[in-house]
Symmetry: C2
Subunit: 525 residues, 2 copies
Amino acid sequence: MITGSILIGAAEQQSAELFSAVDPATGAQIEPEFASAGPAEVDAACALAAAAFPSFSTTAPEERARFLEAIADKIVAIGDALIERAMKETGLPRPRLEGERGRTTGQLRLFATLLREGSWLDATIDPAMPDRAPLPRADLRRANVGLGPVAVFGASNFPLAFSVAGGDTCSALAAGCPVVVKGHPAHPGTGELVARAIREAVAESGLHEGVFSYLPGPTIALGQALVADPRIKAVGFTGSRGGGLALLATASSRAEPIPVYAEMSSINPVVLMPAALEARGAALAPAFVGSLTMGAGQFCTNPGLLIGIESEALDTFAKAAGEALTASKPITMLSPGIHASFEKGVEALEANDAVDTLARGCVGEGVNQARGALFSTDAASFLADQALGHEVFGSSSLLIRCQDMDELKRVIVSLEGQLTATLMMDEADHAAAAELVPLLAAKAGRVLANGWPTGVDVGYAMVHGGPFPATSDVRTTSVGTLAIARYLRPVCYQDIPDALLPAALRQDNPWSLPRRIDGTLKLAD
Amino acid sequence: MITGSILIGAAEQQSAELFSAVDPATGAQIEPEFASAGPAEVDAACALAAAAFPSFSTTAPEERARFLEAIADKIVAIGDALIERAMKETGLPRPRLEGERGRTTGQLRLFATLLREGSWLDATIDPAMPDRAPLPRADLRRANVGLGPVAVFGASNFPLAFSVAGGDTCSALAAGCPVVVKGHPAHPGTGELVARAIREAVAESGLHEGVFSYLPGPTIALGQALVADPRIKAVGFTGSRGGGLALLATASSRAEPIPVYAEMSSINPVVLMPAALEARGAALAPAFVGSLTMGAGQFCTNPGLLIGIESEALDTFAKAAGEALTASKPITMLSPGIHASFEKGVEALEANDAVDTLARGCVGEGVNQARGALFSTDAASFLADQALGHEVFGSSSLLIRCQDMDELKRVIVSLEGQLTATLMMDEADHAAAAELVPLLAAKAGRVLANGWPTGVDVGYAMVHGGPFPATSDVRTTSVGTLAIARYLRPVCYQDIPDALLPAALRQDNPWSLPRRIDGTLKLAD
């Protein structure tokens, strides 16, 4: 079932360049070898995607909804082979991957529901007013349409939910955009299994083969060629800050600027408010360490920064957190490269004179084992050294001790953009928290109280996004239904005869859409 | 009332560097001299704008609506002095400027209505599901908030509707974003009058003075400093392709990428369908020439390209259009610079061996007079020379003669992105037009039938935008209510206590917003 092929539309291709996946738990190569896609395959996939766009972008919402559901069904149908391959390629445990598969299929089904409801089309009609003075008004009708072919970069840390059939692919397909996936080289077999599932769904749904192509490969040149291709009209990426910035640079050297949605780095500050610390400082600690070490901390929303005001209660928390972390078991990281980066980041903090090491997790046996790390520094040192605010991807966190609430606010204001910001607070903290919520909302796409930021719900209200460098485009989200908006543009039709209008705008509203008529929103019957 | 000052918040400043407006009808300088803003003034204005953002962005929609209405009232209250100054600085006639004032105040009032209706906040609530399996759901609430301070560049061709209090400023203020305007140097007196009106509205509305600043100046360095300032979070620009691309380059060299909404260039193709030509070719000609020469053709939506299939009817149209154009009176252009660019563009077409000059308008007396120009070429020549598709800003248009419908389609597919695309068609054309509408919608933000593209309605359904190079961001519009979306970002609140939530998301819905609850849109009571 896994052949190592490049999948371009309905075709399969080999390549002279090959690469292999590595089992991060052993460091051993995994069979088979995979063809490495290059510029020729990018060209072929983009040509097919552009050819598929006119028909795919005008499919009815019901048709696209069924297509997304078919993808979900095909992924489920792969069965345990998918879970086992993903376990081998990522080192992630079975329950996590089974949960991630559920999330992946769940989000495909959620977007099917979204498509059928139809608000995403933003259908808007300003009826003609031939007698308006001083000038008559034409009949004006507006609806959204897909941007065109989208390049999606699979992420290392979510081999299912943010990879081949993950959030970016799902929202782009929902928007009517063909997708060309650059598969992540750390889990090419997992990627191929899912790519084949999508391909089967394309064929069985009677869609143009160019709706989906899968380009595995380990080279930077592959990604650059894909982003530079003039037929690509938007990019979805989840990965490192360096990788995201490189894609942004490639995109900005194009003749035609395109949206690049890069979700890059976040340290997800957690503010430990005084009353909460006083009431339950020790109790907060194990939950924090659980969030920090879950999945070896390989989450975009991992709590990499704690901020509190000096107190006995803060000391109690720090001590308890240190003890919990010291007892934490080492966990295999996703890849040798990620493990090496983690080690380097932790070593830099350990070597920093302004930083104390509060605790490290147990030493692991074997390769690519993450040892959790908890550090501490004072606010003045943090404010003086921007590098302390950079992400260390993995289970590493830094506690910042502030003198008072004013200094705590200065720390918040000094932060770069984040995906999340959290307040641990009790009722007695509410007055102070009321001032912090707007400061945190200015820094992050999601503000939480009394929860840990890991765990991102896929729903209508979710924002998984935020100011730079959390993402390259603060106007949107990569998780949840709003993600579809990333791949849409509005088109207005003026006095176009009814029969020539897109279905969304025809007078008889054949798709039963909610529509705004002359400024007033009308729900579908 | 016009002092030539730089207006930074509530303060006025002079400068050692001065510049003057020029009466384009005479070439003479107009009093008084104007202070030219530089980096120090950019810094001061941006600092104030950033200081104003927290309070301004959290004002209630009703408060912001009244503020926009106050700006409209203050602009009306300037009275005839505004019209007279604008006439002198732009050469535009009184009725046009009175109409433009009406559009400017009308759009401020429309956005006030939009603010009160509240859909723009996109308030969305996924209620907590503590018993959901496998994982409980937290209470998740999402609403939009302004991006931060916005830089607006006044346009030369709409001294009111696209300048200091124009569409960009209006939509940014509506979104809760403070605005720093870089005034267009061709109409600094008009700009100052409007800037003072906004400033009065800021003061009388009790808002932070930093909500609005006005930086006049003729230098490129001024615009670059403004776009490069890290406190600026988005840019609205209407102008030339060169100017827009320069701002994009400046923006992409920032550490933090920001949205740049540059509306740049469009030749607005008009397809003359066979049956329409046959039935009313001669009748179409004067209406075309009227649209082409109106305001000396200085509209983003000027019909700069006609496309038809070789026929006697096309010849009849071309002859009638030539005659109408030959009789057209010269019109004063907006500035010596714009006139010089127009002359250069027309001369290049006249000198092109593949292009025939069908007609020129009357020769004008005095300076900066636009003589209309109508050219013709065959489709093969147009397809072979991309430069023929570049905008000549002013009343210049090029007729492309195609051999057949296939060649006509190839011409459409070859076009760059456009603001508008038009079909002149009769019922007998509908079958062929059904294939062209999607091709045109892929190229333009607005597709029209049987109207001329000049004249942009400010409403709910309008799209004044389109693929590059019409604009730098195809996802949006610079005219109409959807323009507010350019300056908003979503923020999600998870389990935040009701009293600490933004009003839009509180349980009792104090602003009576339409909200999406658990996926279902609920209109306000």
